[in-house]
Symmetry: C2
Subunit: 310 residues, 2 copies
């Protein structure tokens, strides 16, 4: 048996415009790397994280990586001491699936280390357990794509039913993280609990059009289906310059632009990396006009999902 | 120019379980046949219909075929006398898209007769105009599949955006029309105007799973995605024996079973005609147990949609 395994898990974009709460996709980068080693001392220990992540808890019952690993061990009735070192690359509280990435990398590393059977998707329930700790809600649209790569449809949470959606190969994503915070809980609370039947059926049309476009490679259909009538009208109010940032991305040829997860990051899904590159620049400029500094990311869509490294 | 053209338009199943208000499909049969002839007397005239359809209006401003044809003529700024003979095969007030079938057959015949440009889908706005007369609501999930065949997704009504969804080739449908009536308006009024965000996102998962299954040919995914959380919980109360009829169809191996349109017809979508045949028998038996006589139909899914005949 190996003494130590490192695994990478990518950042993810949940609520991917048309698919509030049911659709997410994985970036190639950034991502978290978790190194897991067997320890003789028993229990799960998490090493203190480096700046700027040093405020994340190292108590394994509070850190998503610790919670997910404990759930995995419990499911296999294993009692083994594990040391986790979390090398975070995904900004926290950014809407990039940061809590899921750590948990995903951790369970993928532990699975390899302890030679547990099954594939990545079998790890999803343990990551969801940790998402409950992080956000109070066991949503799967970050965890599933981080585990599996590509676009994940959460057809059902109970029972868990995750479907991978085909996608045109050249897709790329511009993601811009403005220097401000929105708490996931606040972003949830701004949403209405009830919506009109008409909004619901219109949104069903949008996600259906998006998925059809993904399977048929119809970029125009994908683009006009990237509409969010559920979350965007409310959450966009929390992000200064939202309309201008979105318009800037679309003007550069992005297929669609919206809020990543619960924000404040915004992303633009683009047919090519070239378009994504200019969209990123335009989006950052638009944020600057409302005096918001930002970090910009440019990435392909992860085809692999989380995986062991080295 | 021809003096007379006959066109056939198939019955349709709207609200196809996962896709309330946005998904419908066309049967191969039954259907309506409309014969359209040029008349020197000016205006649109509709011949009296045969029993049991003799209560349908012959006033062209009240009959869906007349309304649709008038809208088509208006759009082309044509003033021409037309005689319409409607040979109905689709039961009225059955949830089989009867009003759309007549309108679709009529405009397809008139288009051919007057050698108007464009394809079937270009006729949709005129049929929608007639649907407004019939139901008060311009829904497109009967009219679009009747015009185009196969499964139609109504991505958007305004602007009109209709997408054809691929399907496995062997699909068949059992449709059972119990001898009772539900008015379309009543079926609409029993639905809540507001639904929970959670129901909406779950239903988005269902329709997305269904469409993915259609493109990938994953019958198990199609089957478990044929879930309706929006209309079925309410409308099923209007149909005696609903749960038993559905269970009977599923027990015979149907992929899914639900209300056709606004009911009272129920349909079972099946992977093969053989399964559909036994589902139909079982569904009719179940209706008999609650003392409802019924008409049963068995059909493939129309690949052609409405078309000129002879």
């Amino acid at each position: 048996m190996k003494q130590s395994v490192r695994a990478f898990a990518p950042a993810t974009v949940a609520n991917a415009i048309s698919g509030f709460d049911v659709l997410g996709f994985a970036l190639e980068k950034p991502g978290d790397i978790v190194t897991c080693s067997v320890s003789n001392r028993g229990g799960i220990r998490i090493a203190p994280l480096k700046h700027p992540y040093d405020k994340l808890p190292t108590d394994p019952t509070l850190n998503t990586a610790g919670v997910a690993v404990q759930a995995l061990l419990d499911a296999h009735q294993l009692q083994v001491g594990l040391d986790l070192v979390i090398d975070k690359g995904v900004p926290i509280v950014g809407g990039m699936g940061s809590s899921a990435s750590s948990a995903v990398a951790a369970v993928v590393a532990v699975k390899e280390l302890l030679e547990l059977p099954g594939s990545n998707i079998d790890l999803l329930p343990f990551v969801l357990e940790s998402e409950r700790v992080a956000t109070g809600v066991p949503h799967a649209d970050n965890a599933a794509p981080s585990l599996m790569g590509g676009f994940s449809l959460v057809r059902s949470v109970d029972p868990l039913d995750i479907i991978t959606i085909d996608m045109p190969k050249t897709f790329a994503c511009a993601l811009v993280h403005p220097h401000m915070q929105i708490r996931t809980r606040d972003a949830r609370e701004i949403l209405p609990q009830q919506i009109s039947m008409k909004s619901a059926t219109r949104q069903m049309g949008h996600i259906s059009g998006f998925i059809t476009g993904m399977f048929t490679g119809d970029l125009a259909l994908i683009s006009r289906s990237l509409v969010d009538e559920l979350a965007e009208p409310h959450r966009s109010k929390l992000i200064p310059g939202y309309a201008e940032v979105k318009a800037a991305a679309l003007e550069k040829g992005a297929l669609g632009c919206g809020i990543s997860g619960s924000g404040p990051s915004m992303f633009a899904l683009c047919a090519t990396e070239e378009i994504a590159r200019s969209a990123r620049v335009a989006m950052q400029s638009a944020f600057q006009k409302v005096n918001l500094e930002s970090d910009g990311y440019l990435s392909g869509i992860s085809k692999l999902g989380a995986h062991v490294v080295e």
